[in-house]
């Protein structure tokens, strides 16, 4: 063993990050106490792939950084008869490496497999992606398609919020000072279900979605009609959108091109995107339709495979 101390010569080039204290509570109770004690001046650290850069660039200015990765509830990854319990701090790789999750929640797996590169996926959590509340966050349309519910705890106790109501604006969400996200609960998909998430980016990987679409569908026994489906769209509004009208069109509809086209038109109708270097408003609206059709086709094809298996 050797003990090292910082040498003063070596540190002169790099500007230092804002100073903060660090705590790594081992229980949820301890974490809740810490967060309420620091009332708003503390920030949760999961994978740190957003937070550390945000502290460095001064976008957030916490006095205390609370590492939530040691809390068992936030690390839970369990399939129960009711569905998936996904701890808020579970990193992407643990999700896509689970065969059970790949089978039942493929849209979530699609999203986790394209966040950043492998180094980011080793650390980035779905909970962090959700709490960062970016309009283009890849896991959120997938979570909406899977009808996830967020479990939040704070000084007042526990509450549940459907994921489509979690984000309230770019970088904003329903968490109140002192509250943390504990887990997401994803209901078990009925038999003959399939899902998919896909985004459009100009590169093959390592980019921010120009548009992202998630969908989950359930087929009837004949496999020729849809029992129900749910579509969500990212990067076309201040928050990811639950495409309610498009989803309602799917219930009872035949599995054919016309159904996919109608749903795509309904998804396009709710897109209110911005113009930026990744694409114009018109381009994003157009892409919303194209991706919705493609994603539905793939979700249906996965549901057919599930039915055949």
């Amino acid at each position: 063993m050797r003990v090292a101390v910082q040498s003063s010569i070596q540190q002169r080039h790099r500007p230092k990050m804002r100073d903060f204290d660090y705590a790594a509570p081992a229980t949820l109770q301890e974490a809740v106490t810490l967060f309420s004690r620091h009332n708003g001046a503390a920030r949760a650290l999961a994978g740190g792939t957003d937070l550390i850069d945000h502290v460095r660039t001064g976008r957030v200015t916490p006095d205390v950084v609370i590492d939530v990765k040691r809390i068992p509830e936030l690390n839970r990854l369990e399939i129960t008869p009711d569905g998936l319990r996904l701890g808020a701090a579970v990193p992407c790789w643990r999700i896509y490496e689970s065969a059970e999750i790949r089978e039942s929640y493929p849209a979530l797996v699609d999203a986790c497999s394209i966040i950043g590169g492998i180094q980011i996926q080793s650390r980035a959590s779905v909970g962090g992606n959700l709490c960062n509340s970016g309009p283009a966050a890849d896991t959120i349309p997938a979570l909406i398609a899977h009808s996830a519910v967020c479990v939040i705890v704070g000084p007042e106790g526990e509450r549940e919020v459907p994921v489509e109501q979690f984000c309230t604006g770019p970088g904003r969400n329903v968490l109140q000072p002192g509250e943390i996200l504990v887990e997401m609960k994803l209901p078990a998909p009925p038999p003959r279900s399939g899902s998919h998430y896909r985004r459009f980016i100009p590169r093959n990987e390592m980019d921010i979605a120009v548009v992202g679409v998630g969908a989950a569908v359930t087929l009837d026994e004949s496999g020729t009609s849809l029992v129900c489906g749910r579509i969500a769209v990212g990067a076309v509004a201040p928050t990811p959108l639950d495409a309610v009208d498009a989803s309602n069109l799917l219930a009872g509809a035949p599995v054919d091109d016309e159904t996919f086209q109608k749903a795509a038109a309904a998804a396009r109708a709710i897109a209110v995107p911005i113009d930026d270097m990744r694409g114009t408003r018109d381009y994003r609206v157009h892409l919303t339709g194209v991706l919705t059709e493609r994603v539905l086709r793939e979700a249906v094809s996965r549901a057919q495979q599930a039915a055949g298996a």
């Binding site: 003990v3 230092k16 100073d19 660090y22 790594a24 740190g48 950084v65 180094q119 980011i120």
Partner: protein, 162 residues
């Protein structure tokens, strides 16, 4: 200023204890405190992969890890790949295939490529390109890097270790 913390971690198989501020990244501590300058700093925001190290067996960008998070962690850096003068198949393949020019990206690529081959000893070209997407290189155009990793996979299968 926040109190410095004592952190103990295993780095390249050896137990190390260091003092750091909570705001120091693992990259800063490796380079400035432990003087292990093999790990490079490129962007410091998670985009370039020059700072890639293994944390508990997974490749991570050390610029996006706080050093205080590493209490009891197992770390492996580029310095830990070779056993003395004995280079690994990945290192030999990079050298012999001229898979580097300025070399700043190389430590990160070596660590990521090693992680890939441990996980997937027989990657396709697509697998290699996908897995290494978090490592950027301004010089080589990637082709020689990809070929070196495929060559390393072959060398490993032909019995060189790791």
């Amino acid at each position: 200023m926040s109190k410095k913390q004592v952190v103990t971690a295993t780095i390249n198989g050896r137990e190390e204890t260091f003092l750091c501020e909570p705001r120091q990244t693992l990259l800063e501590v490796l380079r400035d405190v432990l003087r292990m300058t093999g790990t490079k700093e490129g962007c410091s925001n998670g985009n370039c992969g020059a700072c890639t190290v293994m944390l508990n067996g997974r490749p991570v960008d050390s610029c996006l890890v706080l050093a205080v998070e590493c209490e009891n962690a197992e770390l492996e850096t580029v310095e830990g790949l070779a056993a003395g003068d004995q280079l690994t198949p990945v290192q030999n393949a990079f050298l012999e295939g001229a898979a580097l020019q300025c070399g700043v990206c190389t430590p990160g690529f070596l660590v990521s490529a090693t992680a890939l081959l441990r996980e997937n000893p027989e990657p396709t070209e697509h697998d290699v390109r996908w897995y290494l997407a978090g490592n950027l290189c301004r010089c080589t155009g990637y082709d020689k890097i990809v070929r070196a990793v495929l060559d390393a996979a072959e060398r490993r299968r032909n019995a060189e270790t790791v």
